[in-house]
Symmetry: C2
Amino acid sequence: MDRHVSLLTLAVDDLDRAVRFYRDGLGLSTPGIVGREFEHGAVAFFELRGGLKLAVWPRASMAAETGLGVSRSGPPDVTIGHNVDSRAEVDRVMEQARHAGATIVRPAGKVFWGGYAGYFQDTDGHVWEIATRSGQ
Amino acid sequence: MDRHVSLLTLAVDDLDRAVRFYRDGLGLSTPGIVGREFEHGAVAFFELRGGLKLAVWPRASMAAETGLGVSRSGPPDVTIGHNVDSRAEVDRVMEQARHAGATIVRPAGKVFWGGYAGYFQDTDGHVWEIATRSGQ
């Protein structure tokens, strides 16, 4: 396998709400919901850096396409890390997420590996870690 | 929030087994398990393209750090997409994963959006989609 991950897809309960959270709340850009013409096709893509896209896709669609059943929100088994350049930026992103409707799981603070980080959950329970190695 | 996702962390039941799967089975490079000197610190990082790292981290450590409880393998609520250049390459990666101990969730075939894709689960139930838009 080569080393290119191109798409990270998050299962969501409510596609419109997820688009509002990531687009309006966190400021990620998206052409909006596409693919409504296909069964299980409705999805929204957000462009990230490095050729990576984030997608939000209804839980029922993911279940239908994988055949693995419908997920429920629960303890996370994946976290998504977003590295920033300063502690102030960690604080700013955590506040932006809270304002957008995220649940603050662990407020930003010093962590065991020497950095400064906080965790939040999006409106569907997906966990993001906002972190910096900077001491400033 | 800017658009840089830097780390994707997968919770695993057995760190050594996960390292064998991704390093020996799928051929991703890693310096191996680091951070054993910290409580909840043991982790292995794999370098991907575009500045993204993949990490495997014990479920108990993720639970302790997030405070959200220990996840169990179940229906996926995240899928990780790996785009390749041809149908033959999709087939090759799916076979490599199967040989490495992955469970084939959906054999590679034509999908609704016009591409060709398959899904597998790693040894901890994380779901990868190997896909191409190529008609070849």
